[in-house]
Amino acid sequence: MNVLVTVRLVPDLVEPLVVSPQEDNLDWEETSLVLNESDDHALEEALLLKEKHRARITVTAFDFGEIDQVLYMAAAKGVDRIIKISWPHREPPNSLEIVETLARLVPALGIDLVLMGCQSPTEFLGMAAPQLAATLGWSYVGVVRGVEGSGRSEAWRAFKEYPGAILAEMEVRLPAVVGILTASQPPRYVPVSRIRAAAQQVQFETIEGPDELKEPPAAIRRVYLTPVTAHATMLRGSEEEVARQLVELLLEKGILK
């Protein structure tokens, strides 16, 4: 089975975010980038499929920011092939551009299963994973916590979360796109020495990005930092006083009746 994993860099939400002076986007030059967390989990899930079912893993990424470091890390973890998509722009690709590129690439690579994060923190005008599935005409299930073989080569099991701690076992027929929320186990740690070694040895293949930039389906009128409307309230006093304040608060909010 051939598995494709797409990894994306997204703003590091631990760092302060900076909005562009025109208030129409993030200031990407001032923004620290990290690997999208759910893409990291998608990579881990693919590695587990490789270990259990001898899947062959191809990783793709747009050449934006310090993506090489992420790809070296993927190589050190044991992926089989890395394809970098050229992207000479100052902003990362939007969902439509990702979908268009992958929809061209996936059939050419003979991919059976695409694993990618079900959403990224900056996706709001489009969502790449489900929209890629619809474009390819493939099966899709998202917000998934793990994928397993079912004993039949064409059907795989995906575990999807629903509200109220409900987990559904879905049978997914390949070819399919699966939007990963978390992997079956936390992403594995790779020592820096192995990443350095991979950086010395790995060869990236490179392909062209989309022919033209895609306008988002809605006009962005303003981007701004979320206004702070309230701060945390510290409850002070003895244990009894704090307990009384808590009960009053719960009654006020309608949680206790």
Partner: protein, 210 residues
């Protein structure tokens, strides 16, 4: 001409979710008295669902139990085949694990705009304005959507405390039976739902596509 706002209903174990109620409140506020709110229910209307669904002008139920399971791929294909896109202004879907599959699939099948992470919606003349919360809530974005219909994923809590005036008339209920054909509805099926880590053990069901 009146516009139509569609709200696919999410229900589990005989209970319509609070997020669906919020979507219906948002739809009602946008629709006012002029436009029509249509709720699309997969399976039978739960006994406790009447008060929530009264926010709609019409309720259309798909009576085939096989689409009653929350398999978004099948339901997205069903809705895209049944709904007349030309009559629609907006599809409002809750941003739940189900809605995060259903909304983007519908937008992609139809090739219409998708606005996710929406926490506020309003009409300004012919445009729809949405405020989206991204980057784990650290950033807000105001967007203007001109193309119609649009699919909007509403964040939980956005319209929770909004009041809607009580309606005098009962919604019209229409029942549609989903015809079957040979083959699966979309090649994703559900083995069932279970609490926590314990897996459902009943035989898997197939979903059929009309």
């Amino acid at each position: 001409m009146s516009r139509r706002i569609a709200v696919p209903v999410e229900a589990y174990q005989g209970k319509i979710t609070d997020l669906t109620r919020e979507c219906l409140i948002a739809a009602r506020l946008l629709a006012g008295d002029q436009d029509e709110v249509v709720a699309y229910m997969f399976g039978e209307i739960p006994a406790e669902g009447n008060s929530v669904l009264q926010l709609a002008d019409r309720i259309i139920t798909f009576e085939d139990g096989q689409v009653g399971q929350p398999v978004a791929l099948a339901q997205a294909k069903l809705l895209c085949s049944k709904l007349d896109r030309a009559e629609l202004d907006l599809v409002l879907v809750g941003s739940s694990s189900w809605g995060l599959d259903l909304g983007p699939l519908m937008a992609a099948y139809w090739g219409v705009p998708l606005v996710a992470n929406c926490q506020w919606l309003e009409r300004r003349e012919n445009s729809l304005w949405a405020t989206c919360r991204i980057c784990a809530g650290k950033l807000m974005v105001d967007v203007e959507v001109e193309a119609r219909p649009a699919v909007v994923l509403l964040l939980p809590g956005s319209f929770l405390r909004k009041e809607v005036a009580p309606r005098n008339r009962q919604p019209v209920i229409e029942r549609e039976t989903v015809a079957r054909r040979n083959g699966t509805i979309g090649s994703v099926s559900s083995g069932g739902l279970s609490r926590s880590e314990k897996m459902w053990t009943s035989p898997r069901r197939r979903f059929w596509w009309p």
